[in-house]
Symmetry: C2
Subunit: 109 residues, 2 copies
DNA sequence: TAATTTTATAACCGAATAGTTATATATTAA
DNA sequence: TTAATATATAACTATTCGGTTATAAAATTA
Protein backbone atom coordinates (compact mmCIF):
# COMPACT_ATOMS: atom_id res chain seq x y z
CA UNK A 1 0.00 0.00 0.00
CA UNK A 2 1.50 3.28 -1.17
CA UNK A 3 0.97 5.85 1.56
CA UNK A 4 2.42 9.28 1.04
CA UNK A 5 1.37 12.90 1.29
CA UNK A 6 0.57 13.18 -2.42
CA UNK A 7 -1.80 10.25 -2.27
CA UNK A 8 -3.30 11.60 0.96
CA UNK A 9 -4.18 15.01 -0.48
CA UNK A 10 -5.52 13.48 -3.69
CA UNK A 11 -8.87 12.94 -2.02
CA UNK A 12 -11.05 16.09 -1.76
CA UNK A 13 -12.58 15.04 1.58
CA UNK A 14 -9.11 14.69 3.09
CA UNK A 15 -8.11 18.10 1.73
CA UNK A 16 -11.23 19.52 3.39
CA UNK A 17 -10.38 17.83 6.67
CA UNK A 18 -6.94 19.42 6.58
CA UNK A 19 -8.47 22.84 5.91
CA UNK A 20 -11.01 22.37 8.67
CA UNK A 21 -8.43 21.36 11.27
CA UNK A 22 -5.97 24.05 10.25
CA UNK A 23 -8.45 26.64 11.49
CA UNK A 24 -9.24 24.90 14.73
CA UNK A 25 -8.31 21.50 16.09
CA UNK A 26 -11.26 19.36 17.10
CA UNK A 27 -12.25 15.80 17.92
CA UNK A 28 -13.38 13.20 15.45
CA UNK A 29 -17.08 13.60 16.08
CA UNK A 30 -16.89 17.32 15.32
CA UNK A 31 -15.01 16.58 12.13
CA UNK A 32 -17.68 14.05 11.16
CA UNK A 33 -20.41 16.64 11.67
CA UNK A 34 -18.88 18.72 8.89
CA UNK A 35 -19.38 16.02 6.28
CA UNK A 36 -22.17 13.90 4.87
CA UNK A 37 -20.33 10.64 5.28
CA UNK A 38 -20.34 8.12 8.13
CA UNK A 39 -18.06 8.20 11.15
CA UNK A 40 -16.15 5.07 10.06
CA UNK A 41 -15.46 6.74 6.72
CA UNK A 42 -14.00 9.74 8.53
CA UNK A 43 -12.00 7.41 10.78
CA UNK A 44 -10.49 5.80 7.69
CA UNK A 45 -9.54 9.16 6.19
CA UNK A 46 -7.99 10.09 9.52
CA UNK A 47 -5.96 6.92 9.58
CA UNK A 48 -4.43 7.79 6.22
CA UNK A 49 -3.78 11.39 7.23
CA UNK A 50 -2.13 10.26 10.47
CA UNK A 51 -0.05 7.59 8.74
CA UNK A 52 1.62 10.13 6.52
CA UNK A 53 2.10 12.68 9.26
CA UNK A 54 -0.44 15.23 8.09
CA UNK A 55 -2.40 15.06 11.32
CA UNK A 56 -1.59 14.23 14.91
CA UNK A 57 -4.02 12.90 17.47
CA UNK A 58 -4.02 13.40 21.20
CA UNK A 59 -6.15 11.18 23.40
CA UNK A 60 -8.27 13.14 25.87
CA UNK A 61 -10.57 10.83 27.77
CA UNK A 62 -12.75 9.06 25.24
CA UNK A 63 -12.19 11.82 22.71
CA UNK A 64 -9.34 12.22 20.28
CA UNK A 65 -8.22 15.70 19.46
CA UNK A 66 -6.95 16.09 15.93
CA UNK A 67 -4.47 18.70 14.84
CA UNK A 68 -2.85 19.44 11.49
CA UNK A 69 0.92 19.16 11.20
CA UNK A 70 1.52 21.84 8.60
CA UNK A 71 5.20 21.11 8.11
CA UNK A 72 4.31 17.70 6.66
CA UNK A 73 3.04 19.56 3.60
CA UNK A 74 6.64 20.45 2.95
CA UNK A 75 7.09 17.42 0.74
CA UNK A 76 4.53 18.83 -1.68
CA UNK A 77 6.05 22.27 -1.34
CA UNK A 78 9.49 20.91 -2.21
CA UNK A 79 8.27 19.00 -5.21
CA UNK A 80 6.48 22.07 -6.46
CA UNK A 81 9.31 24.56 -5.84
CA UNK A 82 11.47 23.94 -8.96
CA UNK A 83 8.41 24.11 -11.20
CA UNK A 84 7.33 27.37 -9.62
CA UNK A 85 10.81 28.68 -10.26
CA UNK A 86 10.63 27.69 -13.93
CA UNK A 87 7.21 29.22 -14.17
CA UNK A 88 8.36 32.52 -12.68
CA UNK A 89 11.39 32.50 -14.94
CA UNK A 90 9.10 32.29 -17.91
CA UNK A 91 7.17 35.29 -16.69
CA UNK A 92 10.42 37.19 -16.22
CA UNK A 93 11.39 36.36 -19.78
CA UNK A 94 7.98 37.50 -20.97
CA UNK A 95 8.39 40.73 -19.01
CA UNK A 96 11.78 41.37 -20.55
CA UNK A 97 10.38 40.68 -23.99
CA UNK A 98 7.59 43.17 -23.38
CA UNK A 99 10.05 45.78 -22.15
CA UNK A 100 12.22 45.21 -25.22
CA UNK A 101 9.21 45.54 -27.50
CA UNK A 102 8.04 48.69 -25.77
CA UNK A 103 11.42 50.41 -26.03
CA UNK A 104 11.64 49.32 -29.66
CA UNK A 105 8.26 50.85 -30.49
CA UNK A 106 9.34 54.01 -28.68
CA UNK A 107 12.44 54.25 -30.87
CA UNK A 108 10.27 53.87 -33.93
CA UNK A 109 8.02 56.77 -32.96
CA UNK B 1 -14.33 9.49 -12.65
CA UNK B 2 -12.70 12.24 -10.63
CA UNK B 3 -9.99 13.86 -12.71
CA UNK B 4 -8.10 16.74 -11.24
CA UNK B 5 -4.54 17.90 -10.74
CA UNK B 6 -4.32 16.51 -7.20
CA UNK B 7 -5.31 13.05 -8.34
CA UNK B 8 -2.97 13.32 -11.33
CA UNK B 9 0.12 14.08 -9.24
CA UNK B 10 -0.78 11.41 -6.68
CA UNK B 11 0.91 8.81 -8.85
CA UNK B 12 4.74 8.75 -8.59
CA UNK B 13 5.20 7.78 -12.25
CA UNK B 14 3.13 10.75 -13.35
CA UNK B 15 5.16 13.06 -11.10
CA UNK B 16 8.31 11.68 -12.73
CA UNK B 17 6.87 12.25 -16.20
CA UNK B 18 6.19 15.87 -15.29
CA UNK B 19 9.74 16.28 -14.02
CA UNK B 20 11.18 14.64 -17.09
CA UNK B 21 9.22 16.80 -19.53
CA UNK B 22 9.88 20.00 -17.58
CA UNK B 23 13.55 19.66 -18.45
CA UNK B 24 13.00 18.87 -22.10
CA UNK B 25 9.90 18.15 -24.12
CA UNK B 26 9.97 14.84 -25.97
CA UNK B 27 7.79 12.33 -27.77
CA UNK B 28 5.97 9.45 -26.12
CA UNK B 29 8.48 6.79 -27.10
CA UNK B 30 11.30 8.73 -25.45
CA UNK B 31 9.21 9.13 -22.31
CA UNK B 32 8.54 5.37 -22.32
CA UNK B 33 12.28 4.63 -22.52
CA UNK B 34 12.70 6.32 -19.15
CA UNK B 35 10.45 3.85 -17.36
CA UNK B 36 10.14 0.11 -16.87
CA UNK B 37 6.51 -0.02 -17.83
CA UNK B 38 4.85 -0.67 -21.18
CA UNK B 39 4.01 1.93 -23.81
CA UNK B 40 0.24 1.57 -23.28
CA UNK B 41 0.78 2.23 -19.57
CA UNK B 42 2.62 5.46 -20.41
CA UNK B 43 -0.13 6.37 -22.89
CA UNK B 44 -2.69 6.00 -20.11
CA UNK B 45 -0.72 8.20 -17.76
CA UNK B 46 -0.40 10.76 -20.53
CA UNK B 47 -4.15 10.73 -21.11
CA UNK B 48 -4.73 11.62 -17.46
CA UNK B 49 -2.05 14.32 -17.49
CA UNK B 50 -3.49 15.82 -20.68
CA UNK B 51 -7.07 15.69 -19.40
CA UNK B 52 -6.24 17.87 -16.43
CA UNK B 53 -4.09 20.26 -18.40
CA UNK B 54 -0.72 19.29 -16.97
CA UNK B 55 0.69 18.36 -20.36
CA UNK B 56 0.02 19.45 -23.91
CA UNK B 57 0.66 17.35 -26.99
CA UNK B 58 1.52 18.49 -30.47
CA UNK B 59 1.23 16.08 -33.37
CA UNK B 60 4.32 16.01 -35.54
CA UNK B 61 4.00 13.36 -38.20
CA UNK B 62 3.54 10.06 -36.48
CA UNK B 63 5.10 11.38 -33.31
CA UNK B 64 3.48 13.32 -30.52
CA UNK B 65 5.56 15.92 -28.77
CA UNK B 66 4.73 16.31 -25.11
CA UNK B 67 5.28 19.47 -23.12
CA UNK B 68 4.51 20.38 -19.51
CA UNK B 69 2.09 23.23 -18.84
CA UNK B 70 3.59 24.51 -15.61
CA UNK B 71 0.82 27.00 -14.85
CA UNK B 72 -1.60 24.12 -14.39
CA UNK B 73 0.22 23.34 -11.14
CA UNK B 74 -1.19 26.59 -9.84
CA UNK B 75 -4.18 24.81 -8.39
CA UNK B 76 -1.89 22.91 -6.03
CA UNK B 77 0.09 26.06 -5.35
CA UNK B 78 -3.08 27.91 -4.40
CA UNK B 79 -4.32 25.17 -2.13
CA UNK B 80 -0.96 25.08 -0.41
CA UNK B 81 -0.48 28.85 -0.05
CA UNK B 82 -2.60 29.52 3.07
CA UNK B 83 -1.00 26.59 4.89
CA UNK B 84 2.46 27.82 3.98
CA UNK B 85 1.45 31.20 5.36
CA UNK B 86 0.28 29.65 8.64
CA UNK B 87 3.45 27.64 8.81
CA UNK B 88 5.65 30.71 8.32
CA UNK B 89 3.60 32.60 10.87
CA UNK B 90 4.35 29.91 13.40
CA UNK B 91 8.06 30.27 12.75
CA UNK B 92 7.78 34.03 13.16
CA UNK B 93 6.06 33.52 16.50
CA UNK B 94 8.79 31.10 17.53
CA UNK B 95 11.42 33.64 16.51
CA UNK B 96 9.76 36.35 18.57
CA UNK B 97 9.53 34.02 21.53
CA UNK B 98 13.24 33.25 21.27
CA UNK B 99 14.10 36.95 21.05
CA UNK B 100 11.94 37.63 24.09
CA UNK B 101 13.62 34.83 26.03
CA UNK B 102 17.08 36.03 25.05
CA UNK B 103 16.47 39.61 26.14
CA UNK B 104 14.95 38.31 29.37
CA UNK B 105 18.03 36.20 30.20
CA UNK B 106 20.20 39.23 29.38
CA UNK B 107 18.26 41.34 31.93
CA UNK B 108 18.78 38.63 34.50
CA UNK B 109 22.55 38.62 34.09
C1' DT C 1 -24.57 -0.14 37.72
C1' DA C 2 -26.81 1.08 33.46
C1' DA C 3 -27.10 4.13 29.65
C1' DT C 4 -24.74 7.14 26.63
C1' DT C 5 -21.02 8.85 23.98
C1' DT C 6 -16.74 8.50 21.28
C1' DT C 7 -13.99 6.02 18.53
C1' DA C 8 -12.19 1.80 16.19
C1' DT C 9 -12.68 -2.25 13.53
C1' DA C 10 -14.57 -5.99 10.74
C1' DA C 11 -16.89 -7.48 6.74
C1' DC C 12 -18.67 -6.23 2.74
C1' DC C 13 -19.46 -3.73 -2.00
C1' DG C 14 -18.90 -1.34 -6.40
C1' DA C 15 -15.87 1.52 -8.82
C1' DA C 16 -11.35 3.18 -9.90
C1' DT C 17 -6.35 2.39 -10.56
C1' DA C 18 -2.26 0.75 -12.65
C1' DG C 19 -0.66 -2.46 -14.98
C1' DT C 20 -0.65 -6.24 -18.70
C1' DT C 21 -0.97 -8.36 -23.78
C1' DA C 22 -2.80 -8.20 -28.30
C1' DT C 23 -4.06 -5.53 -31.99
C1' DA C 24 -5.31 -1.56 -34.92
C1' DT C 25 -4.09 2.76 -37.18
C1' DA C 26 -1.25 6.25 -38.99
C1' DT C 27 2.99 7.78 -40.81
C1' DT C 28 7.56 7.25 -42.59
C1' DA C 29 11.42 4.71 -44.74
C1' DA C 30 13.24 1.15 -47.79
C1' DT D 1 4.40 -1.43 -52.20
C1' DT D 2 6.19 -3.40 -48.18
C1' DA D 3 8.34 -3.01 -43.77
C1' DA D 4 9.13 -0.49 -39.77
C1' DT D 5 7.90 2.88 -36.33
C1' DA D 6 4.90 5.64 -33.17
C1' DT D 7 0.88 5.77 -30.85
C1' DA D 8 -3.90 4.45 -29.43
C1' DT D 9 -7.24 1.32 -27.92
C1' DA D 10 -9.58 -2.86 -26.36
C1' DA D 11 -9.98 -6.48 -23.17
C1' DC D 12 -8.48 -8.31 -19.17
C1' DT D 13 -6.59 -8.67 -14.14
C1' DA D 14 -5.34 -7.86 -9.35
C1' DT D 15 -5.37 -4.43 -6.05
C1' DT D 16 -6.81 -0.26 -3.86
C1' DC D 17 -10.27 3.19 -2.70
C1' DG D 18 -14.07 5.20 -0.59
C1' DG D 19 -17.94 4.21 1.09
C1' DT D 20 -21.47 1.34 3.79
C1' DT D 21 -23.63 -1.26 8.10
C1' DA D 22 -22.99 -3.74 12.26
C1' DT D 23 -20.58 -4.23 16.26
C1' DA D 24 -17.00 -3.85 19.83
C1' DA D 25 -14.40 -1.31 23.26
C1' DA D 26 -13.43 2.39 26.22
C1' DA D 27 -14.70 6.39 28.85
C1' DT D 28 -18.23 9.34 30.85
C1' DT D 29 -22.69 10.50 32.79
C1' DA D 30 -26.97 9.57 35.17
Amino acid sequence: MRRDVFQAIADPTRREIIGLLANNPMNLTSVTENFNISQPAISKHMKILIECGLISVEKQGRERYCEVKLDSLNEVEEWLAPFRKMWEQRFDQLDQLLIKMQSKSKNEQ
